[in-house]
Symmetry: C2
Subunit: 343 residues, 2 copies
C-alpha cells in the first residue's frame, strides 16, 4: 500500500456515497445489481482503509475488463455442497467476490459444525485485495486463511522466466481486545498494484523486486511492467509459498493456473481467470483458554518486545479516520469516476 498523495485539490465523500458511485459505474458497464453491490463495497472499503492500490485505482481496470467481454458481470455463481467440510463454487466466469458471498453462509455453517471447512472457488476473476475476504470471518469469531493465484508475472526462485502469479496469502484471527489480527501478503517481493502506482508516479523501486525483459535485476517499475517480471519475496521460501498457492487456489479448486488463461482476444482485460481457496476454522473447538483471549495475549507480548504496529493496524486506523472525516479523493480522480458512472 502507498500513502495517498496530499494535495490541496482533494475532495471528500462518505463511504455510502462512494459505494453508490462505484455501484453506478459497475452497473453502467454491464454487471448485475448484486455484482455491482459486492464489488463496490469491496473497492470502496479498500479506498476507505487506505489500501489505495486496491481502491478506486482499480476502477479503470474493472471497466476495461468488462468492456472487453473477458468476464461475465452478470454471472450467477453455482454453489455445490460437496461434503460436511467442503463447499465448491463455480463462479461461472464471473468475479470471485460474488462467488464467496453466495457460498459464505454455508461455509460458516460447516465450519461451526465440522470445526473446519474449505471453500474452493473456480472459474473466477479476483481483482481486489484479499484481506476483505478473510477479515469478516474474524469479526464472527472464526479464523480464516485464503489464497488466490493471479497471472504469470513472478519468476520462481532458481528459474529463468516468470510462471507464478503474485499469489497472495491472507489471514485473519479474532482478538479479544480490539480489531482482528489481519494480514494480506503477496508472495511476490512487491504487489503488482504497487508497481503500477510507482510507474505512474515515476518512482524507482527498492532493489530485489523484479527483473527486466532480459531477466536482469531492475529498479525501474516500467521495465518490470514492460516485458519484465517480479521476484518472489524471501528467495526460495517465498517461491515455495507461491507454488503452494498455485496448488491450493488452482489445482485444488479446478481453476486455472496463473499461466493457463489466454486473454489475447480480449484487449483491455486485466483480471486473472483463476481460482481461490478459503479455509475457515472454528476456534471454539480448541482446547484451553478462549482463542480471542490468547491472541490478545500474543498481541500484548508483541508490543512488549517493542513492536509498534501490528499487521492491519494501519488499515483500522485509516478506517476510523475515514469514518470521521470522509474519504479523500483527488478531484481529478473523482471527476473521472463520475464520468464513468454517467457516460
Amino acid at each position: 500500500m502507498t500513502a495517498a498523495p496530499v494535495t490541496s485539490n482533494t475532495q471528500t465523500l462518505d463511504f455510502v456515497a462512494l459505494v453508490e458511485l462505484l455501484e453506478q459505474i459497475f452497473i453502467r458497464h454491464g454487471t448485475s445489481a448484486d455484482v455491482a453491490k459486492t464489488l463496490a463495497l469491496n473497492c470502496a472499503g479498500a479506498e476507505r482503509d487506505g489500501a489505495h492500490s486496491h481502491g478506486v485505482f482499480r476502477i479503470p481496470g474493472y471497466v476495461s475488463t468488462l468492456n472487453s467481454g473477458w468476464v461475465d458481470g452478470q454471472a450467477v455463481p453455482v454453489v455445490e455442497d460437496v461434503a460436511s467440510g467442503f463447499v465448491r463454487v463455480d463462479a461461472a466466469n464471473g468475479f470471485a467476490q460474488p462467488a464467496l458471498s453466495a457460498a459464505r453462509a454455508l461455509l460458516v455453517e460447516k465450519a461451526r459444525s465440522a470445526g473446519i471447512a474449505v471453500l474452493a472457488i473456480r472459474n473466477s476473476h479476483h481483482f481486489a485485495a484479499l484481506w476483505p475476504d478473510v477479515e469478516p470471518f474474524a469479526y464472527e469469531g472464526l479464523v480464516a486463511l485464503s489464497v488466490v493465484n493471479s497471472m504469470t508475472c513472478v519468476v520462481p526462485h532458481g528459474a529463468d522466466r516468470p510462471l507464478f502469479g503474485t499469489n497472495p496469502i491472507a489471514f485473519a484471527a479474532p482478538r479479544a481486545g480490539g480489531d482482528p489480527i489481519v494480514f494480506d501478503l503477496a508472495t511476490s517481493a512487491i504487489a503488482h498494484g504497487d508497481v503500477q502506482i510507482a510507474a505512474r508516479k515515476g518512482q524507482r523501486l527498492p532493489a530485489g523486486m523484479g527483473v527486466d525483459s532480459l531477466g536482469q535485476p531492475t529498479e525501474d517499475p516500467k521495465a518490470i511492467l514492460e516485458g519484465g517480471a517480479l521476484l518472489p519475496f524471501g528467495g526460495h521460501k517465498g517461491s515455495a509459498l507461491s507454488m503452494m498457492v498455485e496448488l491450493l487456489a488452482a489445482a485444488l479448486t479446478g481453476g486455472n493456473f496463473s499461466f493457463e488463461f489466454d486473454w489475447s482476444n480480449h484487449p483491455g482485460a486485466k483480471t486473472p481467470w483463476t481460482g481461490q481457496l478459503l479455509i475457515v476454522i472454528d476456534p471454539s473447538k480448541s482446547a484451553g483458554q478462549d482463542f480471542a483471549q490468547r491472541s490478545e495475549e500474543l498481541v500484548r507480548q508483541m508490543h512488549g518486545v517493542g513492536l509498534k504496529r501490528l499487521p492491519g493496524d494501519r488499515r483500522h486506523q485509516q478506517r476510523a479516520k475515514s469514518a470521521a472525516e470522509g474519504i479523500a479523493l483527488e478531484a481529478e480522480v473523482l471527476a473521472n469516476l463520475r464520468e464513468l458512472a454517467n457516460p
Copy 2:
C-alpha cells in the same frame, strides 16, 4: 540443511540398522517402546534423506532432554474426537510425533469424509523436521499443511527483542509423475539447527540471519546462540507468517506460545513445549481434473521456465542414494551413538 562432510573416516549402515540403534538409545533413556520406534524412524529418516540438522545430530539433545525430566518419554497421548473435521490430542507432555501417530487414522478418515480435517496437538514437544509429518499424507493422495511453534529466538519485524520461535511451515501434495511436492521452511531467516551446525564448524553465516545480544546484526553463529536472536525471513512478510504460526500452533491447539514455557529447572532440556496444527485436505473432492495430474502439470511448467530442482528433490535423491549405498556416518558420530545405546 547442510551437506554431510565427506571424510575418509566414514562408516555406512542401512536404514533398519540405524533405526534399531536409535530405538535402543531412546529406550535406554527412558522412553516407551512405542515412542522409541516413532522417534527413531523420524530421526533416521531425516539422516537418510540428507536432512542432517534434524538427523542423528539431534540425538544428544533428545538424550539430555530425557535425562532432565523435562519431557515424558512414556507419555500416552489422549485423542479427542471433537467434530466431523476436528481432532484434538493432548500429548501429555510427551513428544509430538507419537501424538500424531495416535490420531493419524482418525484424521485421515475425517479428511476423506468431510473433505478437510484439522488435528490440533497440544502439550507436546517437537524436536524434529516438520516435513516427515506431512509427506506421508501426500503418498496417500492427500494434501497436508502443518505448522509448529518452538521457543523464543526470533525478533518480530519492527520489534527490538525476540518473541517468536523459528515456527516452520510444511506442505505436501501428491503428484502423478513422481515423488510428492514437499517443502518445510522455517519462518526464521535460518533454521536453529543450521546455526548450531555452523557454530560447531566455526563457519560464518550470510548477512541478515540474526542479531547479537545487543540486538546488532551479526554473521557469527555463536553470537546468535549466546544471547542473540534470529530474524524472520523476508522482513515483515515472514514475520506475519511466524505470528500466524503462533496463533495456529499454540492459540488454536491450547498449547504454549513460544515464550510461555520455563525449562530453567530442567538443565539439559532442549525441546520446546508447545503445540502443532495439521490441516489435511482430500483433493478428490475438487472439481476438474485429478489433482495429482494437475500438480504434475505445474511441475512440468516449472521445469519449462528453467527450474532445476523442486523443493524436496534433494531429499528424495539422497533417499534413493542411501537405499543403494547405505547411510554414511562419521565413525566418531557412530561410536558416540553406540555408546549412548549401551552405556
